[in-house]
Subunit: 459 residues, 2 copies
Amino acid sequence: MQSGRKASGMELRERLVGMREELLEELKEFLRMPSVSAREDGGGAFRECAEWVLGKLEEAGARARLLETGGHPVVYAEAGEGEGALLSYGHYDVQPPEPLELWESDPFEPAIRGDRLYARGVADDKGDVLARIQALRIYLREHGELPFRLRFLIEGEEEVGSPSLGPFVRENAGLLSADACLWEGSIKDEAGRPVIFCGTKGLAYVELRARGPSHDLHSMYGGIAPNPAWRLVQALRTIKNERGEITLDGFAELAEPPSPEDLEAISRIPFDDAALRTAWGVEELDRGLSGREALEEMLLRPTANIAGMHSGYTGPGSKTIVPSEAFVKMDFRLVAGQSPSRVVQLLREHLRRRGMEDIEVVDLHGLEPAKTPVNAPIVRLAKETWSDLGRDDALVYPTIGGSGPTSLIATGLGIPTIMAGNVADSESRIHSPNESVRVEDYLETVAYFVRLFERFGGR
Amino acid sequence: MQSGRKASGMELRERLVGMREELLEELKEFLRMPSVSAREDGGGAFRECAEWVLGKLEEAGARARLLETGGHPVVYAEAGEGEGALLSYGHYDVQPPEPLELWESDPFEPAIRGDRLYARGVADDKGDVLARIQALRIYLREHGELPFRLRFLIEGEEEVGSPSLGPFVRENAGLLSADACLWEGSIKDEAGRPVIFCGTKGLAYVELRARGPSHDLHSMYGGIAPNPAWRLVQALRTIKNERGEITLDGFAELAEPPSPEDLEAISRIPFDDAALRTAWGVEELDRGLSGREALEEMLLRPTANIAGMHSGYTGPGSKTIVPSEAFVKMDFRLVAGQSPSRVVQLLREHLRRRGMEDIEVVDLHGLEPAKTPVNAPIVRLAKETWSDLGRDDALVYPTIGGSGPTSLIATGLGIPTIMAGNVADSESRIHSPNESVRVEDYLETVAYFVRLFERFGGR
């Protein structure tokens, strides 16, 4: 990886001027394919979409193939020759468009209104996928050959939790080896600044289930029948103390402390907690957090969140019962050092130690945390590429705060993995009706990857 | 009130032998009228039922009338002349029969199978209502006149929470004055022993509502967004301590302690907590309670029960959100000294004192506690009447553990109020499909009230 000549942002974007219609028409074609992974694939429409991506990769100059996974196929491709290697991860499947009545135009008929292009999947993740393929095509047209290996891993099951990705990565480690991985999922922030994310938190998603009487009882027995809702409250009170601090035995001890570099990166991120409070309609953040402390909590500290809970009668008015069951759904966001399986084990031990082994811990979903140092070469490259485009305001976040299967690559294969250059912005409404991107952001993303490939290749 | 000659149980029941068919046919006629108070009254069928009861009262020899309430009318009647007065409370409305598919015969076409009579309302409360009217008729046929005033208050809205009863009682206190009131709602227990209940607990039914962000958030914000489900847990932990004891400020102090007589009554009640545990499928009662301690808790101590709770995502699998709202439904069962409005006030003060005034306390429903001393004359009379029928096993419970509007009479009018002699048993499935009573129990109930009227009248 070497840094190349400094090109002006205008110059880079000007390269695309004559291609504008071509690039956008191709994107619209991609967006018209309803590749909703949560649906049954009616008659091969889904595979057609995978084959379309394959065709685009070949057209761009890559050697592409479909690799079967048992679920939807992975589109894999490789271009270029050389010592270095870059891996690009994306997905060609999309979220269901429902509720349809809230869309202002057909989710699968791309429409431009104002400066934005609306369609399901344009921000998550078809825009990213195609921008990188088009960038390769432009690169090869202009420079003739790519002096490193550029590998594409484009899956079709991201929106249903990537069930085949783990086995696929393990079985195809050789195909995926690289110096760095560019994951999908970055954004431009509220102020339009490009963001580079250097990691994801892990996730342990569990359900705690308490059982009381075999059937709901008249609440005249409320003083003597074991009440599963109270039982859960008694368990939950041992997981957070009165101050809202996590008190799960051994949980804090597992967490690696944030590095000085992470803390330094945090200090450079503009963070307006007043704007968040306004957006959320709350007077205070949790535990009265504010400023850098809140940002550090959000990006670098683990959480113990209640995502849902239920017991007994929840309809209108009054019904007097001792419920027979109660459950709470919790997601623990994890930082380096905390694996989900270990956290589930801690939770079971924690409850057992308190005589609460009657509370069942159901392990629903787990993701490992993944972290690339904020001063890794790929982070520098990604930031400098923005500078080349005239954007000196790119921000480096130690993590995205959320979770994803990045650790399969970052930890599983030991490849530094970041999210950068993606097409979405803060108004993209990912997973919601009226998903969109700014048209100019899309074209800028194509230019960004052309330039990133140049930099990585030493130009 | 004087105790009269001791008649043998056989002798009393023998009086009814020739009337068996007449009494049962009349009951079936009553049961065929679908007086479901929760339904819209289609074309006056409901009023027809009230008028039928009125007719039966007149036929028995009472002076009866319908009194309008704004809702379904009250059937009021009075019989006899004299110093003493007895008030009988019952209701002619019934619960909805649904789910219909679980009935083995038409809920409104009474059917005898084995030794039981099946129909909606037979146990709650038409059997009781008619047995008392028939008892009056038999009494007057046999003795010519009744030497005290027997008053009937028969309402038509009990199964929808008696909304008109409070105003009715206040406006008609003169019509209702009596030395004692025989409320509906007693049973025979699992061993077939008649039970006399001397009171009901009060009820404060509230919803506690916590609010977080204005919309569900991605749980990547779980470390900094205020979570309403955690907020509720933090509030609930202040209402019960780790040992499950109620710690609501001022709550215990309001409760009058059980009287020595109540405690003595408790000690005479056979109570098998193992049978309860088996019926409920639990290994232990709440807080490891057992034996007399459990019975005391159930009948004489207040409760703080969670009847339901809800927040966020409760469907299958995992969804990672910070919920925007959470609520818990709680019923507090109250003992003498604890009025529902005062308890709701305590709860608000309790939360305010802890900086939790953001949690809304919605007052959904309240009932005052009501208590008649276990050694009151009417209790003795009720127990001795059972002895006259050859039943020396009647049990006196200080309260029923549950709640009802008895305090309107017991406290509002200062009339000692008990539940005794009712027709239901432990298999009656009140409010459920296949509601039933034992045919012999019905006839015994008629005999019970004939004898009770005799005793009250000094025979």
